[in-house]
Amino acid sequence: MNVIYTDVLVIGGGLAGLRIGIGAKRRGHDVTILSLVPPKRSHSAAAQGGMQASLGNVVKAMGDNEDVHFEDTVRGSDWGADQRVVRMFVDTAPKAVRELAAWGVPWSRVQKGDRQVIINAQKVTITERDEAHGLVMQRDFGGTKKSRACYVSDGTGHAMLYAMSDQAIAHAITVHERMEALALIHDGSRCYGAVARNLVTGELVAYVAKATAIASGGAGRLYRATTNAVICEGIGTALALETGVAAVANMEAIQFHPTAIFPASILVTEGCRGDGGLLRDAAGKRFMPDYEPEKKELASRDVVARRMEEHIRRGAGVKSRFGEHLWLDITLLGAKHINSNLREVKEICQYFLGIDPIKDWIPVRPAQHYTMGGVRTDHTGGSPTLKGLYAAGEAACWDLHGFNRLGGNSVAETVVGGMIVGEFIADFCDRPESDLQLSTGLIREFLEHEQAKLDALAAGNGSEDANALRARMQEIMTSKVGIFRTGDDLAAAVEELQSLLRRSRNIGLRYTARGANPELVSAYRLPKMLRLALCVAHGALIRTESRGAHFRQDYPRRNDAEWLHRTLATWKNADDTLPTLAREPLDVMQMELPPGWRGYGAKDYVDHPDTPRRAAEVEAIRTKLAGAARAAVQDALMPCATLLPQRFRGPNERIDEPFAPPAAPRQSTSPT
């Protein structure tokens, strides 16, 4: 029996996983990180555009602060988010950027003086303040009131992931690469680690840990057309689901990105539009102002993606042999800007399309992009139902994003979540209740169970082709559980996905080696992916309203009266073909920002009965405290200052909100 003991087991070496690891290690706990690939190859590296944090450095961000970021995020989420978590997040995001700045991320910096930008297809001159010179630069992103996205040229995620990974190496954190978690070891109430498979040798290893954190990223590969990497298959999320105890939440909330190149679905950054790029149709006409006169190309992602598909449906798409698409035009930004700030975009166009975006328009069409849902956690990142299990990053439903996450909020979430959850995990490991009392029998049982499944597959008696089933699943998800959803389509999807799940029990392999064997890998991942796909499709079928990225043509209105709920899914029995769904209501009376219009998109929605009452309450508090400090008002509306770990509490300094000149005594407690 191959068993490795560690204090904290982190499944996933992306930004979220690494930051958890660093946090726990700094607090003196032993950490082991598992990853399918070397950490620096994780999909966090793909984020081009930026990381949201209300630093308020640039002119177009003046007046920005935690409150504005909070409102943008909650509106963006279509009120699906946990507002206390959003608070924790917006308060910590500036700290996260600054920590990364100290760790070596070469954030683009503010250059004082005049700067030419394109706003609404017009050249505009912006003059940056002298005081801001050399601070972290910020750009505009969809769905936000202020320029808030901090960025590193066009390689934000790459630079962040490299700095983070280098810190993990500096902290001598053990990383086991090409090691895939296959199952969580648990006894129905406590998680003890995971069984993992060495992707090179095929060997199974049991990792036994006080705390296990899932940070395995998104599940884009449930879809055919996705911007996600090929390893974003949602396996980590599925592991939690398969315990039957932990829940996954809001899986139907899937984001589609407006601008994926067509047909390869490789993302070109939102920054293209943020910097002034335009969307055009077959006639060359800029069409977004017709739909969204206010924010135009810069409305939130779900809105832009939907408008694009709508426009294509109206017959304005460009026809090609692979289907229809629209154009993204960044030619007006000029060669200099593209060559320095959007170089990655230029490379993608050159290598994958053979075009030059300085002169040519880019063929684009929306594609799956982000999984808002994931392993349900409370504000500490812990599973409310399975002790010792944590989750963070895209794999988690910490519930920062609700039904739609804003561009740039996601890499921010990985780091902020990693910081916060890392501390809570360390707290947990510090407490005696985290001590491990498990029998080696349990470990053996889990190992044997996984081995038996692999052996059965390798015996190769089945007749189904894993790749074919998988391709079918991806097709169903793209065509029936996509941007526009209807009850009929969803019901058909659920039906067929169930049949695929049944068929997946009868997979046969052509190549049966037990070591490195890609066919075997895709065979054992398939049922996991199908279960997640069923959570998505089934959740979408049940949710008879439209909210954020989840859009039902047959129920186009947001319905707070009935659907101000999270969808919780559990998989009670391995033999089930459907998840068990439950509702977790959101309490309007606790909300700092009661539900209302988002400021873009459809204006009609059905109010929750509590909404007017809460709105009046909020209004009253605001009037009463008029003139009081921001923080005081906030605290009166939704007290949550004590939710954060001690070391991340406290205000953030800005140019316009300076701290007392003599350096404030460092309130952070040193870990040494």
Partner: protein, 257 residues
């Protein structure tokens, strides 16, 4: 409305006649008993916009389930898919088959530990390199007060650091380097570039004397024989020749005394 001249004529890919391509792969799986290195050739129909990523996946799905290779981002940014393509290291995912002849030869990157077929363990090599070169920012103090304004940096300097930070650790420069092929312990251009990157970074408080400790020998910068293949194959077009020369000058200066 501004009408771009580019729009009407543009098509996604030229309507070229479909052709057959023959892809020969150097196959060897050290895990498998009895496996010996051999070339295996697959023939397939070229599709529009076909990259080696698409081609290899098609081969694996339709012709040979045992073929091993690594792709992650399939967008040319993660560095997973470096392999030797017609004799030169490069990223397979962003290589269009139409940019190559109809006979394509693929081999795994040399120098790195072979996992199987086209899959090599670059991750392990890179981690060892990072540990050896202590490739991270060595801060002046461990705790920074992150609630205060970040330290300022000149915009051009930040841009310069990013230029060197763009390395994706794909390993092409190492596999393309004759020195690295002859000497196992050579840090390679990727490592020397890291030194240049951290040396440039004002947040890293190390001095040239400190860097000399890391690369001031023949497995470090003085081992580089200026073959410059690293520079020519780097898929991110990093200025490796300039940076290695720069590190060499600084290290020669630091070591001369």
């Amino acid at each position: 409305m501004t009408e771009s001249a580019a729009m009407p004529s543009q098509s996604i890919s030229p309507e070229s006649a479909q052709r057959k391509v023959r892809i020969s792969v150097l196959r060897y799986n050290p895990q498998e008993r009895g496996s010996v290195p051999r070339m295996q050739t697959y023939e397939l129909e070229e599709a529009d916009g076909m990259t080696l990523f698409i081609a290899l996946n098609e081969i694996r799905e339709k012709q040979d389930a045992s073929l091993q290779f690594d792709f992650v981002c399939r967008a040319g940014i993660c560095g997973s898919c470096a392999m030797v393509i017609n004799g030169r290291p490069g990223l397979a995912c962003r290589t269009l088959t139409r940019s190559l002849g109809s006979e394509i030869t693929l081999a795994p990157l040399p120098v790195f530990e072979l996992i199987a077929d086209l899959s090599v363990n670059t991750g392990k090599w890179m981690r060892a390199m990072s540990e050896r070169l202590q490739a991270w920012v060595h801060m002046k103090q461990i705790e920074v007060d992150i609630s205060r304004l970040e330290e300022r940096m000149e915009p051009e300097l930040a841009q310069k650091i990013y230029e060197l930070d763009r390395c994706i650790e794909c390993g092409c420069c190492v596999a393309g380097c004759g020195t690295a092929r002859m000497r196992e312990d050579f840090v390679g251009a990727v490592g020397l570039n890291k030194i240049a990157r951290f040396r440039l970074d004002p947040r890293d408080a190390r001095t040239d004397a400190d860097f000399y400790e890391l690369v001031g020998d023949d497995s470090g910068v003085f081992g580089c024989m200026s073959l410059l293949a690293c520079h020519d194959v780097c898929p991110k077009a990093l200025p490796l020749a300039t940076q290695i020369a720069f590190v060499r000058r600084k290290m020669a200066g630091a070591g001369w005394k």
